[in-house]
């Protein structure tokens, strides 16, 4: 077993295990901090898909933005659960919801089945890419290429998304204004 596969499994295990803990912990504050770990592990997994810029963005946007927001929202919204932070008694995990669990497992089975089925027939664009040797290599400068692509080929969606992001942020700040009615 080579090192990169070992690291991949380590990151995958870390991501899945942390995600499981996130959904099964009672204490939401702890769950949110564990969510960091999940995001970090996911960023690590992106690296294995040779998407280094995406991984960096992930860490910056999520950890720097989303998580801070989540923590703020959590602290603003739930006084009773803030008390849970001081609480040490009681069980750590909440019980799984029995109505949802079989459905999720069934869906997982369907997806795994679909993935295995899909393995038999690789799509044509992938085989041609492999044949033309147009597959991203670990030696490629991704950030350079991505910058060119954003400013040329994907300039319209890039601008649209920028405006959209701005609108969303303005809307969000408007919504969370205290004197909404006045």
């Amino acid at each position: 077993m080579n090192v990169d596969l070992f690291l991949f499994y380590a990151f995958a295990t870390l991501a899945i295990g942390s995600a499981l803990l996130v959904v099964s912990l009672k204490n939401i504050a702890r769950a949110l901090f564990l969510f960091f770990v999940v995001l970090f592990a996911m960023a690590g997994l992106y690296l294995f898909a040779l998407a280094d810029f995406v991984a960096i963005t992930q860490i910056m946007v999520y950890v720097g933005g989303v998580l801070i927001l989540l923590l703020f929202a959590f602290m603003l919204s739930n006084k009773e659960l803030l008390n849970d932070l001081q609480q040490t008694t009681g069980s750590l995990f909440s019980l799984p919801t029995w109505k949802v669990l079989p459905l999720i497992l069934f869906f997982l089975g369907i997806m795994i089945y679909g993935i295995i089925e899909w393995q038999q027939s690789t799509p044509a664009w992938m085989t041609t890419a492999i044949q033309n040797n147009t597959v991203i290599k670990s030696t490629d400068n991704n950030i350079h290429q991505l910058g060119i692509k954003f400013m040329t080929q994907y300039v319209l969606p890039f601008e649209v998304i920028s405006i959209f992001l701005m609108m969303a942020l303005i809307g969000a700040s408007h919504l969370s204004r205290k004197d909404l009615q006045k």
Partner: protein, 101 residues
């Protein structure tokens, strides 16, 4: 050798966990977390497939777009949650039943 299947299986797990959080958790913030998990699983799929598209870089670019959109969604969602909390004094979706006839 890390194949495409590895990524797909991992993303399937993460997606399912996110889905579980959305359907089962009794806190709106955790539902948002579940949504983020599902989006992350989708992003993982984007970048995994994007490996085979060096000409357009479609996978990675859309992964970036998705991250931005997710961030925007979280911002709006959290604002909505705060308003809901102000209005109902709770963030438990079971106790918010205005959709009922």
């Amino acid at each position: 050798m890390i194949t495409l299947t590895h990524f797909l299986v991992v993303s399937a797990f993460i997606f399912c966990i996110g889905l579980y959080a959305v359907l089962a958790k009794k806190n709106a913030i955790m539902i948002l977390v579940g949504i983020e998990l599902m989006i992350n699983a989708a992003i993982l799929n984007f970048v995994a497939f994007g490996k085979y598209d060096k000409i357009n870089y479609g996978g990675q670019i859309f992964a970036l777009f998705a991250i931005v959109l997710a961030a925007a969604a979280v911002a709006v969602g959290l604002a909505i949650i705060l308003n809901v909390y102000r209005y109902y004094k709770t963030v438990n979706p079971d106790q918010i039943r205005e959709l009922k006839d």
